[in-house]
Symmetry: C2
């Protein structure tokens, strides 16, 4: 019996995400992060961190890959898709993964590994669990009359799609 020499499927996609991350650094396009979106064993999109070269603080590998996958598939949800990423997602990217209703996340390095290279998102995770008033980020509610006007307009719309 000849065993297949192909790597297990998760290893293949994670390997691709790591390769994207390495090449992103070597080409000077941005930080050491890569991600791919996969559906039914087929590659849908790739993404790398291009924050500093695109002047976009939201352009983490996962966000870039998710936005591209939605563009390719013509949808704003990726329910049957999986994301493979070279590193554990930060809170922003994790939020995007939840909003896109993705099926699963596979990652290689941990956020502790990222932290050792100067990419520390632990601070953001810690901030999020604090009550608003206890956060280091100044967050102030300005309760105006009519604060809920947009929600009222929304509820009056017949064909609304909550996202």
């Amino acid at each position: 019996m000849v065993l297949s020499e192909s790597p297990p499927p998760h290893d293949r996609w994670i390997g691709m995400a790591i390769e994207l991350a390495v090449n992103n650094v070597l080409s000077g396009h941005g930080g050491p992060f890569g991600a791919v979106v996969v559906r039914d064993g087929t590659l849908i999109s790739e993404g790398t961190n291009v924050v500093t070269t695109q002047n976009d603080p939201t352009a983490h590998a996962e966000i870039v890959a998710i936005r591209r996958a939605c563009e390719v598939l013509g949808t704003f949800e990726l329910r049957d898709c999986v994301i493979y990423t070279s590193c554990e997602p930060c809170p922003m990217c994790l939020g995007a993964i939840y909003w896109a209703r993705m099926e699963a996340v596979y990652f290689a390095a941990t956020h502790q590994d990222a932290s050792k290279s100067g990419f520390d998102d632990s601070f953001i995770y810690e901030e999020m669990v604090r009550p608003i008033a206890a956060r280091k980020l100044k967050m102030i509610q300005v309760p105006l009359q009519g604060s809920n006007r947009s929600f009222e307009a929304w509820k009056a719309q017949p064909n609304r799609v909550n996202d």
Copy 2:
């Protein structure tokens, strides 16, 4: 003495964010959310939720406004900028606000208000504080040999910019 009839500055910008949110619903462009980025009392950018019309689950009002502000200012950090948003930011947007190093967040409606209209991000906040293995979202580490290759490449780069 004649008192100025201008509204207090925070009210003015929050009012603009709410107005953007209302108009976004009425024009059918997306969900009931609006945001503006302001620097030194000057409007830098506007954003509204265009998730369903742009097929982009990351296109929340705050993310759209942040990306545009960075484009306008030619930077990937908004250290001296403030964001005014019609509603308390979700975890994804809050993450983006931290990464952009913004100075402050002012918001009108609370996430409880949003929840009553079917926009419930409490679930995401709850998930984030759980250990990975206890989350409803399937998250699996695939530790490959070479998981840290991109970080090693990064540390070898002479002109790296951590973002």
